[in-house]
């Protein structure tokens, strides 16, 4: 398979601390790759190494099947990026900020208007960026990353600091990109829900190690929600459910249903009522990212 981004044994050490260790990232063309991990897991460090902003301690980075060390400029010609907080020159207006970058990459001036339009900042093109809200700065950063018509777009926490409507806007924008412009996109985030709504492929890092890398469908299996029942005399209630052919787990206090479809939950409740148990609570227990990580790291050890 041809990968747009492929890292081999990518490692970065800061003194004794191992920020990224042995990372093997594989990103197929046209995917939205969700790069997921808690803060401090090494996401930004990895992205900095992908862009050549930081040298790896060891390992290699190939983008567009080319070695980043040898063909950095040719690679970066086709890469757009937004690393951590949006970068901008505070003394310049939005349009001037893009113009300063445009002079370097040499695309036609009309491209500035185009990208401002894509992120819907055309009305404030002549305003100083200093006075922009966080969301506007973030959108300007995305506009800057689109300036060179990239084939690979790397966005580090693109929805950080945005309000809900801003998040939805950015999300819709990102989802459009592979289809409309044939781009491959990497988005990093520490929020599972964020990645869940945008990504088609997911890579999960924890403590600098890649602990999961597969399609979003595979990922969803890990993050399935649970329906928990609190009932009187839970052990016999659980046995009663099993006796009626329902699949359920029991953990001393609560019953957990393995099939969480609406019908299944309704049936389980009906049976329990019929059998004379008191039902105190029927709750949906959402799995946090931490739980998913725990599950993943557990299975990692088993493999």
């Amino acid at each position: 398979m041809e990968y747009i981004v492929e890292t081999k044994n990518l490692t970065k050490r800061f003194g004794k601390e191992q920020a990224v260790s042995g990372l093997e990232m594989k990103i197929p063309k046209g995917e939205i790759y969700g790069f997921l991990g808690p803060n401090g897991a090494g996401k930004t460090t990895t992205i900095r190494m992908l862009l050549g902003l930081m040298r790896p301690t060891s390992g290699s980075v190939h983008i567009f099947q080319k070695d980043l060390r040898k063909e950095r400029i040719r690679i970066l010609n086709k890469v757009g990026s937004l690393v951590e907080n949006p970068s901008y020159y505070p003394h310049l207006t939005a349009g001037e900020n893009l113009e300063a970058l445009r002079k370097i990459i040499g695309v036609p001036k009309t491209r500035i208007k185009e990208v401002l339009k894509i992120v819907r900042l055309e009305d404030v093109a002549n305003k100083k960026v200093k006075g922009f809200s966080m969301g506007m700065k973030q959108r300007l950063g995305i506009a800057a990353s689109l300036l060179n018509n990239p084939e690979l777009l790397i966005l580090d926490e693109p929805t950080n600091g945005l309000d809900p409507s801003g998040i939805i806007e950015i999300r819709q924008l990102i989802q459009r990109l592979p289809h409309d412009y044939g781009m491959t996109v990497i988005i990093s985030s520490h929020l599972l829900s964020e990645i869940d709504q945008m990504a088609t492929t997911v890579g999960v890092v924890s403590k600098g190690k890649m602990i999961f890398q597969d399609s979003i469908e595979e990922m969803r299996k890990f993050a399935k929600q649970k329906v928990v029942l609190k009932v009187s005399d839970s052990e016999s209630a659980w046995r009663a459910l099993l006796a009626r052919g329902m699949r359920a787990d029991w953990d001393e206090k609560n019953i957990t249903l393995l099939n969480q479809s609406d019908e299944n939950v309704a049936t389980a409740v009906k049976y329990l009522v019929k059998d004379g148990f008191s039902i105190y609570r029927v709750e949906e227990e959402k799995k946090s990212l931490e739980d998913v990580f725990l599950q993943m790291t557990k299975e990692e050890r088993l493999v």
Binding site: R48, G52, I73, N85, Y88, H91, E96, A100, I104
Partner: protein
């Protein structure tokens, strides 16, 4: 390289800091107009008297200090809001960025020197100095002062890239510039102190047979040597800097 330089100039030209280029020449003008050495009596050429007093403050203090401020400015907007990471993630090499910023700086110093030349001329016109303008000497002073700042610009650029704060590189500059006042009086250390070179090379009282009023070997060893050291230091540091 040209696209990077044009981008650098674009960013700097919008910053309105360029007025600072006028400070040195204005101070020179002021000193030239107020200096009064009539009591020396029968001085050689009035231009010499003016030049000596103007150069003293300008070359000793304002030229090296403002050079440092300019270096800080061209790095300040990169430090402020993540400019470095955006700039260096573009398809360019760090070496070209460093050289572009350096060339821009020395061009600005040249502009400042030419403005100072204008100040000298203006002083003569306003005071009605009868002798002709001694251009054959003054150009050496102007150009020599520029050459002498080349290593200082390189060091200041290095320091400005190294320190995020505006004050730190300025402090380094002041620490090295202030002792010049003492050093230029020393025959032993004066010729070897890089920060004393702008003054020595603009000092028209020096040996006029030497080009730029200092011996060739001093020019090559002190100015050339410190230039190589500071430029290579800054260049290599920037190559390895993690942003």
């Amino acid at each position: 390289m040209l696209p990077i330089m044009s981008s650098e100039w674009y960013k700097l030209s919008k910053s309105r800091i360029l007025w600072i280029l006028l400070v040195g020449p204005m101070v020179g003008l002021f000193i030239g107009l107020t200096a009064n050495f009539d009591n020396l009596g029968g001085g050689p050429n009035e231009w010499y008297v003016k030049l000596l007093s103007m150069n003293l403050t300008y070359a000793l203090l304002f030229l090296p200090l403002i050079t440092g401020v300019l270096a800080s400015v061209v790095c300040r907007y990169e430090h402020q809001e993540g400019g470095w990471k955006q700039l260096l993630a573009m398809p360019l090499t760090r070496g070209k960025v460093f050289i572009s910023k350096y060339i821009l700086l020395i061009a600005l110093v040249m502009v400042m020197q030419l403005l100072y030349l204008g100040s000298i001329y203006l002083v003569g016109v306003i005071d009605g100095i009868p002798e002709p303008f001694p251009l054959n000497i003054v150009w050496k002073s102007i150009f020599g002062g520029w050459v002498a700042t080349l290593p200082l610009v390189a060091l200041q650029l290095w320091m400005s890239i190294l320190f995020k704060s505006f004050a730190a590189p300025f402090a380094v500059n002041v620490i090295f510039t202030l002792p010049t006042i003492l050093v230029v009086n020393s025959e032993r250390f004066g010729p070897y102190y890089p920060w004393a070179q702008p003054f020595s090379m603009m000092y028209i009282g020096g040996n006029t047979e030497d080009i730029f009023f200092v011996p060739w070997d001093q020019l090559l060893i002190v100015v050339g040597g410190s230039f190589l050291l500071f430029f290579a230091g800054g260049y290599l540091y920037f190559q390895r800097k993690a942003v």
